[in-house]
């Protein structure tokens, strides 16, 4: 599904290397988690994969279903099935949430040569999905993320994911800013989307999200590299001992 090989990336403005050779393969149907201390390059990895400006790829590759992601525009990556749930979802005053979602769904369908979703069908689907995420009609009408609480913003990200039905989902610290109940709601939303053909890359600081979204593989990232990979037990080890032990062990 997603294959990253020896990926090295500089921050464009500062000429500073952030990713120093990342190797990672996510298989369809699997949930991979990336954990790591602040500044280890986790978010950078998610941005580079989704095509944000400001990063310079200096080496390596990132391929999704045979497509060279790094050669594609952000919208092409999206249409090909890549989705990033933002750590800080962006507020867009003046653009209605519903309009935004319908435009996005249909833009992707158009790019893939599929028929656009009718207004009636779209309404039916979004109402059902929104209900599952406890997103009320008002939130759908309001401008994208404007005046949303932290939890509402994250639920809105998961709603977008549910509507766009991507193949490869990257969740960048989706647990940040969530209380226990909100986290459960978001995790349920993610779990509902788990399927054989869909891969997940869950980026998080803490193990607690992984209590709800059970990973198949856990990676530890530090200083721009994946330094250790293992099963779910690796997340528990981090929770008990912190990163210091693991990092000194691999150093």
């Amino acid at each position: 599904m997603l294959e990253i090989k020896n990926l090295t990336v500089d921050l464009e403005e500062e000429d500073k290397q952030i990713l120093k050779g990342v190797d990672l393969t996510v298989e369809p149907g699997k949930v991979h988690a990336i954990m790591g201390p602040n500044g280890s390059g986790k978010s950078t990895l998610s941005y580079v994969l989704s095509g944000k400006d400001g990063y310079k790829v200096t080496g390596g590759s990132a391929v999704m279903d045979g497509l060279d992601l790094l050669e594609m525009e952000p919208e092409e990556r999206a249409a090909a099935g890549l989705f990033l749930a933002f750590q800080y979802p962006v507020e867009i005053p003046g653009v209605g949430n519903m309009t935004f979602l319908r435009t996005a769904v249909n833009a992707q369908r158009k790019a893939r040569g599929e028929e656009e979703m009718s207004a009636a069908e779209f309404l039916k689907v979004i109402r059902a999905r929104a209900k599952e995420l406890k997103i009320d009609a008002d939130m759908l009408k309001r401008p994208v993320n404007v005046g949303f609480s932290g939890g509402e913003k994250k639920r809105n990200e998961i709603l977008q994911m549910a509507m766009l039905e991507p193949k490869m989902c990257i969740l960048d610290e989706t647990d940040s800013g969530l209380d226990v109940d909100a986290m459960k709601l978001v995790a349920d939303g993610v779990n509902a989307l788990r399927s054989e053909g869909r891969g997940f890359l869950v980026i998080t600081h803490y193990q607690r999200l992984l209590d709800h979204i059970k990973p198949d593989v856990v990676h530890i990232m530090a200083d721009g590299r994946i330094v250790k990979s293992g099963g779910p037990e690796l997340a528990l080890e981090v929770e008990h001992n912190g990163y210091t032990d693991i990092l000194s062990e691999v150093a």
Binding site: E73, E75, F83, F86, I92, G94, V95, A104, A107, Q108
Partner: protein
């Protein structure tokens, strides 16, 4: 005291080819306007309120030229049920116009000087325009009062069931048109006036609006997409007690547009909203000059102007709120913003507040910015192509101004146009 020589020469040259219409009830006002104009002269670049917009093209004594636009799409407001009054290059077209009778309004033509019982118009024609000359001179409006060849006199006495729609067709590449409208909304009456179309190669239009106590007037206009057209327009509105005046203007294209709006709130609890959205690309200069005077208690005024500029386009905003002594509980708001889509475009803003009352709430703001890259990436990451995402953000930027249109059918028409035009320019 005489005029500076340059100003006098330029004024004489510009007026040389014009004839003062004679006879009828407006003649005295026209003669008075001409003498006022001769005394003040037409604007020069050095005049304070023409610092950011060169008056040259409006002063040029030679014939203007503007290529006609091949308009493959239907006219703005085309789908809306309205009473149509059509002018072609400034000349009334009775065949294209509807029958001018409608319940709640009496419609007459300015050119028809023998119109009976037109004293209400006589009380307004040139009168509001002259009131609007202090403290800032608006010579092109005075020139209009003197030389206007036609226009409509709208006497709103009830609540007409349909909007009154002034349609300005442009069919001659060298037309130079001057139209003057007079609107009187009687107490408790309510109407909507629509204006659309480029009108002429060069268009000077003035509208004097008198809204009596409890009257309501909505005004929505779209200035036509012809690229080379020139327009200098004025609105002079006087608002009585508990009256409402809401005006919105959309401008897309046009090498030179100057829209002045002068509003005087003279009765307590009156409301005036004036808004504008413009989209300029390349050889485009657009100027909104607004002056709102609060001269009564507990009045509300809003100025909302948004400009999207690219490829070297220029936007100007000169907006003022004057709160006179005694105009307590004034609620004044003014915002002017530009979205600059590249480094070549510019926005020049001069927001002004002048307040002589001590119990008022007035706010004003002016900003210039580029497309929000973070928002753009967010939209693209959801699959919106860059052009489509930029358009969506552009429309969102203009939304605050467009939302000033109360009628949803009208605002949807405007938004639909903007969507098409933006998409075509991508």
């Amino acid at each position: 005291m005489g005029l500076p020589e340059l100003k006098q020469t330029a004024t004489e040259a510009r007026l040389a080819g014009l004839t003062l219409p004679e006879g009828g009830w407006s003649e005295a006002a026209r003669r008075d306007a001409l003498s006022r104009l001769t005394a003040m002269g037409l604007p020069q670049r050095r005049d304070e309120y023409w610092k950011y917009t060169k008056p040259d093209l409006f002063l040029d004594p030679s014939e203007p030229h503007a290529a006609l636009l091949e308009n493959e799409e239907g006219m703005v407001f085309g789908e809306i049920d309205r009473l149509k009054i059509v002018f072609v290059d400034g000349v009334f077209d009775p065949d294209a116009s509807d029958d001018l009778s409608m319940e709640g309004v009496t419609i007459a033509r300015l050119a028809d000087s023998s119109a009976a019982d037109i004293h209400w118009a006589q009380d307004i024609y040139g009168v509001l325009e002259e009131r609007g000359q202090t403290p800032v001179r608006r010579p092109f409006a005075t020139m209009n009062t003197a030389f206007a060849t036609d226009g409509v006199l709208l006497h709103v006495t009830g609540k007409p069931s349909k909007p009154i729609s002034l349609i300005y067709m442009h069919q001659s590449e060298s037309s130079d048109a001057i139209l003057h409208h007079v609107v009187r909304v009687e107490p408790g009456a309510e109407a909507t006036i629509l204006e659309n179309g480029p009108a002429a190669a060069r268009f000077n239009k003035c509208m004097e609006i008198d809204v009596a106590d409890g009257g309501v007037l909505h005004h929505v206009r779209s200035q036509g997409r012809d690229h080379e057209r020139l327009a200098v327009t004025h609105m002079f509105a006087r608002l009585g007690r508990e009256s409402v005046f809401k005006s919105f203007t959309l401008t897309v294209n046009g090498v030179m547009t100057r829209n002045e709006c002068v509003i005087e709130l003279t009765g307590d609890d009156a409301v005036a909203h004036v808004a504008g959205a413009c989209v300029g690309d390349g050889n485009f200069h657009h100027d909104d000059t607004v002056f709102v005077t609060h001269d009564a208690v507990n009045c509300e005024s809003r100025q909302v102007f948004k400009k999207v500029l690219r490829n070297g386009a220029t936007g100007v905003f000169q907006g003022k709120i004057l709160v006179k002594e005694g105009a307590q509980k004034t609620d004044g708001y003014q915002i002017s913003q530009s979205l600059l889509l590249d480094d070549d475009s510019q926005f020049l803003a001069k927001p002004e507040l002048e307040i002589y009352a001590d119990d008022v709430a007035c706010s004003h703001g002016s900003t210039s910015g580029a497309i929000d890259e973070t928002a753009l990436f967010y939209l693209r990451s959801r699959g919106l192509p860059k052009g489509e995402a930029t358009d969506l953000l552009t429309l969102a930027f203009l939304a605050e101004a467009v939302e000033e249109i109360e009628n949803e059918t009208l605002s949807e028409d405007i938004v639909g146009r903007l969507q098409n035009w933006l998409a075509r320019r991508r």
